[in-house]
Symmetry: C2
Subunit: 228 residues, 2 copies
Amino acid sequence: MKIAVCLLSGGLDSATTLAVARRDGFACHALSFDYGQRHRIELAAAARVARSLGATDHKTAVIDLRLFGGSALTSDIDVPKDRPAAEMSHGIPVTYVPARNTIFLSFALAWAEVLGSSDIYIGVNAVDYSGYPDCRPDYIEAFERMANLATKAGVEGAQRLSIHTPLIDLSKAEIIRAGLALGVDYSLTHSCYDPDPEGRACGHCDSCQLRLAGFAAAGSKDPVVYRP
Amino acid sequence: MKIAVCLLSGGLDSATTLAVARRDGFACHALSFDYGQRHRIELAAAARVARSLGATDHKTAVIDLRLFGGSALTSDIDVPKDRPAAEMSHGIPVTYVPARNTIFLSFALAWAEVLGSSDIYIGVNAVDYSGYPDCRPDYIEAFERMANLATKAGVEGAQRLSIHTPLIDLSKAEIIRAGLALGVDYSLTHSCYDPDPEGRACGHCDSCQLRLAGFAAAGSKDPVVYRP
């Protein structure tokens, strides 16, 4: 069976991506990161999702990105709430974590090389991407090119590593419809940047707003619990 | 003053690279990694070198690459000893750590972005590079290209990030001569992959052999202590 490394945050997009990788016939090695994020609760969601979608293995790498700061997700900067859609789609928000996807993909590359895998799945999205530079197609292509020069396989010309981004051109509603068709149980996922101590979503951060708008546009109801 | 992030392992090459960055007029933020390496003692050397060469700051990121295994430097595979030079210069040795430089450069990229720096120094070397794929010039160029698409600055076109590799075309002897001319105290550095409990170098691993041959070719004496 072909092996893939699948980045899995525990959110809606990465859960859908894992389901696509499973449908594509891969034995999936799911990889999550405990990076000092304030919504650390997503790691429990990642474990639930990995189990539910039949991942072969699930590892969580501990890397404390609070070492550098610079993001509302890893430091004491406030998470923005109730931003209008037009504002969310322009500029880079304070929830951007510097070089996060580059770091995550680098770890995935290391694991892929050890496993002898030439396939990495990541749930980046260039439509509702909330202004993050490291979600754009030209960035992913450049990472793939670099990765093929970074590894033993690259030197030996044995195999070509591919970064799969099945969601990159989909709207949030299309992602949700695709996931529902593949049997993803979205009640297991977690998206909120600012959950309360019981893990309930705030409903007002960029991530909650994109998620709620996506379910509405898909004509479906979001099964996660929002705080009153 | 211009700011640079300088990868610093505590070895001979990275110490020389830091000295070059200081000579180039940068305020240097040195970055080391506690990644589960068996020669963890190099971290104390990194701290000594950072202080000695006047780094502005020195951080050590903790990332446990033993999570994936696959290298003699992070798992229980034996470190090879007394390999002939011809063998060292062909193929990829078991001391290769999958995607290590990609991971290290990704963290440097994150810190550079937070600091507003557009300069990263890394002491890779394509001459005596011991067969590592992620030390080659085309790999470094591909990383630089990717990095410029990964970050806020890349999106906003504000500045161009450069990966500086001042040692890439130098022999070990040339590196040592350059470092001595810049006042590097090599007694503070550590290169051995397999030190004894007192931190003394083995003299027989690839790293020790390259270092000893380099000092001999430079007409100088290695000031570190080798075990009898």
